[in-house]
C-alpha cells in the first residue's frame, strides 16, 4: 500500500503529461478512439450561447462524417451538443422551456412568501424564547424564595 501511494503521483503525472502531449487517439485505451473524438467535440463546442464561446468557426470539423461509437450512425445531431435538451419531438424534457429570452417569474411572490414564512418563524421563536425564559426565571425566583423563607425552611427541616 505504501509503495502504491509512493508510485501513484508519479504514474498520474506521467499519464497527464502523456495525455497533454499525445493525441486523443493515443489514449484509445480508455475507450474507443471514436468515443474520445466525440467527447472532445462535445467539450470544444459546448455552450455556444455564452459570450465568447461560439466555436462554430474554430471547432475542428471532421473531414469525414463522425460516427457514433456504438452503432456507426452519424452523430451531427448528438443531443446535448447544442444545449437543446429535447431533440425528440413530443418528449417532455426538463428545462425544455428554457430560452434565452426573458421569462416572467413570480419573483415577488416567491421572495415575499420566503420573507413572510421566515419572519413568522423568527417571531414565533422569539416569543417562545421570551416565554420560556420568563417561565424559567419565575421558577428560579420561586425556588430561591422557597428556600430562603424561614417558614419554608422550618417546614423542610421538619420534613427531614
Amino acid at each position: 500500500m505504501r509503495r502504491l501511494l509512493r508510485v501513484m503521483p508519479a504514474v498520474t503525472a506521467a499519464l497527464i503529461l502523456a495525455a497533454g502531449v499525445a493525441t486523443p487517439a493515443a489514449l484509445a485505451f480508455a475507450g474507443s478512439a471514436r468515443a474520445v473524438v466525440s467527447l472532445e467535440r462535445s467539450t470544444e463546442t459546448s455552450m455556444p450561447n455564452m459570450p465568447g464561446m461560439d466555436h462554430a468557426s474554430s471547432s475542428p470539423t471532421p473531414a469525414k462524417p463522425e460516427t457514433d461509437s456504438h452503432e456507426g450512425r452519424p452523430t451531427p445531431d448528438q443531443p446535448g451538443m447544442d444545449h437543446e435538451k429535447s431533440p425528440m419531438p413530443g418528449m417532455d424534457m426538463p428545462g425544455s422551456d428554457h430560452s434565452d429570452g426573458a421569462v416572467s417569474r413570480p419573483r415577488g411572490l416567491l421572495l415575499g412568501g420566503f420573507g413572510a414564512l421566515n419572519a413568522t418563524v423568527l417571531i414565533a421563536a422569539a416569543v417562545l424564547r421570551r416565554r420560556t425564559r420568563a417561565e424559567r426565571d419565575r421558577r428560579r425566583v420561586s425556588r430561591s424564595a422557597h428556600t430562603t423563607n424561614p417558614r419554608h425552611r422550618d417546614l423542610e427541616d421538619q420534613n427531614r
Partner: protein, 475 residues
C-alpha cells in the same frame, strides 16, 4: 479385579475465535497540533469566522444571481459558481479535509446567527436522532430526482428555489433547536460529507489518556463561557469517526488540557476500523453509487437515443416517468447487489444479511468518492472557464471567445481513469481489511470476501464502461 480404564475426557470445546470481533483501535498518526502555526490557527478566535465571511458573500452573490439574474444557465454566474465550481470541488474538499466545508458553510453561519438572536434551544427531537440519516438518504435521492425531472441544475430559477427551501429549513432548525441540528441530522450534503470524510487524511481526535484525568465537565462538548459547544453534538473523547466533525476547532479552544489533536492518517483508513457499522450509512453509500450511475447515464449521448427508442416503441413521452423508472433501477442496482452478496455471505460467516450489508457498505465508499469526483471532473475541467466568463461578465469583462475547457478531453479522461483505478483499489483493499479484521479464520475470510469483491468489480466495470462513452454537457 481390575477397574475399567476411565474413558478419556472429551476435549474442551475450543471457543470460536471469530465470535468476538477485533476491536483494536486505529493507529495514531502524527499530531499537527505540535506545529505552532496549525495550533495558533486552530486556537484563534478568528477561525473559522474569518473564512465564513467571504464564503457567505459569495453565497449571497450566487443566490442573487440565481433568483434575479439571467434565465439562461449558461449566462448565469450563480449557476456557474454553484454547479460548475462548488459542486465539483466539494467532494474533493471532503476527501482532503473531511467536513471542513461545514465549518465555513453559510447555512451553518445562518443557523448560528438565528440561534443567537431568537433561538429557543429545544433538544433535538428523538425521531431525528433515530432516523436522521434515513431522512438524509431520502432527501438526497429526492433532490437528485427533482433535479432531473424539473431541471434544477439547468435552471437558475430552480436552483434559486432549492436554495430558498434549504435556507428556510436552516432558519427553522436554528430558531427552535439546539446547535446545528439541521447540519447534523437533516443536511443531505452533510450526510454525503459524513460518508466521504471517512476517507479523508485528516482527523480530529482527543488524547484519551489526558481525557481520563479531565475535570472540566466535558467543556469540549458543552462549550465554555467564551467558546460555543460542539455544533455537531460530538464528544471528542469518544469520537472515532470523521463523520460528525467539521474541524471548527471549538473543542480545541475550550479544552483546558490541550488534549485535542489534529492528526494525519492513511487515506480511507477509518473505513478499516469501523466499530459500529450502521445500515443507514451503508445504504447512503449505495444510494450515492446509484446516483453517480444515473448522473453518468443521463449525460451519455446514448441516453437520448434510449429515450427516443422508448418513445417510439411504447409511446411513453413523459420524461419524468421514464427517468423515475431509470432512477429506481440505478439506485436499486448497487443496493440490490450488496444485499444479494450479503445474503450469500451470511450463509458462510457468523453474521446475518443486514449486519453484513452494514459492515461492507463502507467498502464501497472509496469507489463512490472516485466515481463522484471523476464525474464532476468533467464539469470542472471541461466547463470550468464558464465560471470565469460569467463572473467576469458581471463586471463587464469580455472573454474574447475562449473555450470553456481548462484542459483537453484526453487529460480529463486520464484523470478520470486514474481516480477510478485508485477508488477501485481502495475499495478492494478496504473490503479485505474489513473481512480480515472481523474474521480470523481463512475460510470465513475468503467466503466473506469473494461476493463482496464481485460486487465491487461489477460496479467498477459499470463505471469504467460509462466513463468510456462520450458525455454531453448539462449546462
Amino acid at each position: 479385579m481390575i477397574a475399567p480404564a476411565p474413558a478419556p475426557a472429551p476435549a474442551p470445546a475450543r471457543p470460536d475465535l471469530d465470535d468476538v470481533p477485533d476491536v483494536t483501535p486505529a493507529p495514531v498518526g502524527r499530531n499537527w497540533m505540535t506545529n505552532p502555526v496549525v495550533a495558533r490557527v486552530a486556537r484563534s478566535r478568528l477561525y473559522p469566522q474569518i473564512l465564513q465571511i467571504p464564503v457567505a458573500a459569495v453565497f449571497g452573490l450566487v443566490a442573487y444571481q440565481l433568483l434575479v439574474g439571467p434565465d439562461a444557465a449558461h449566462d448565469n454566474a450563480g449557476t456557474a459558481l454553484m454547479w460548475v465550481l462548488w459542486w465539483p470541488v466539494i467532494p474533493i474538499v471532503f476527501v482532503l479535509l473531511g467536513r471542513f466545508w461545514c465549518a465555513v458553510c453559510p447555512f451553518g453561519w445562518l443557523s448560528d446567527t438565528v440561534q443567537r438572536l431568537v433561538g429557543v434551544n429545544r433538544p433535538v427531537p428523538a425521531f431525528l436522532k433515530r432516523y436522521g440519516i434515513w431522512i438524509i438518504d431520502a432527501s438526497f435521492l429526492a433532490i437528485t430526482w427533482a433535479d432531473h425531472v424539473w431541471g434544477i441544475v439547468e435552471s437558475p430559477w430552480g436552483s434559486g428555489i432549492l436554495l430558498l427551501i434549504l435556507t428556510t429549513a436552516v432558519i427553522i432548525s436554528g430558531a427552535f433547536f439546539q446547535r446545528r441540528t439541521f447540519c447534523r441530522y437533516l443536511c443531505f450534503l452533510g450526510g454525503l460529507a459524513g460518508n466521504y470524510a471517512r476517507t479523508g487524511m485528516v482527523e480530529l481526535r482527543a488524547d484519551t489518556d489526558i481525557c481520563r484525568t479531565c475535570k472540566a465537565k466535558a467543556a469540549c462538548f458543552n462549550g465554555t463561557d467564551t467558546v460555543a459547544a460542539c455544533p455537531l453534538f460530538t464528544f471528542p473523547r469518544t469520537m472515532d469517526s470523521n463523520a460528525n466533525c467539521n474541524l471548527c476547532a471549538n473543542c480545541i479552544k475550550s479544552c483546558p488540557n490541550d488534549a485535542i489533536q489534529i492528526r494525519v492518517r492513511k487515506p480511507t483508513s477509518e473505513l478499516w476500523f469501523i466499530r459500529n457499522p450502521k445500515i443507514e450509512e451503508s445504504f447512503l453509500a449505495m444510494a450515492i453509487m446509484g446516483i453517480v450511475l444515473i448522473q453518468n447515464l443521463t449525460m451519455l449521448g446514448w441516453w437520448n437515443d434510449l429515450l427516443a427508442w422508448i418513445a417510439r416503441t411504447t409511446g411513453v413521452t413523459s420524461y419524468a416517468l421514464i427517468f423515475s423508472v431509470a432512477f429506481v433501477v440505478a439506485v436499486s442496482l448497487p443496493v440490490g447487489l450488496l444485499a444479494g452478496a450479503s445474503l450469500l455471505v451470511a450463509r458462510h460467516n457468523l453474521e446475518d444479511t443486514w449486519t453484513n450489508f452494514a459492515r461492507f457498505g463502507y467498502a464501497l465508499i472509496p469507489l463512490d468518492v472516485a466515481g463522484h469526483i471523476a464525474h464532476n471532473l468533467f464539469h470542472l475541467l471541461a466547463e470550468g472557464k464558464a465560471v470565469i466568463y460569467t463572473v467576469g461578465g458581471l463586471f463587464g469583462a469580455d472573454n474574447g471567445g475562449g473555450s470553456t475547457a481548462f484542459v483537453g478531453t484526453g487529460t480529463i479522461r486520464v484523470l478520470q481513469y486514474v481516480l477510478l483505478a485508485a477508488g477501485i483499489a481502495a475499495s478492494l483493499y478496504t473490503a479485505r481489511r474489513i473481512a480480515h479484521r472481523r474474521y480470523g479464520t481463512a475460510s470465513r475470510r475468503t467466503a466473506t470476501l469473494r461476493p463482496m469483491v464481485a460486487v465491487i468489480v461489477v460496479l467498477a466495470a459499470l463505471n469504467l464502461w460509462m466513463f468510456a462513452l462520450p458525455m454531453v454537457h448539462r449546462m
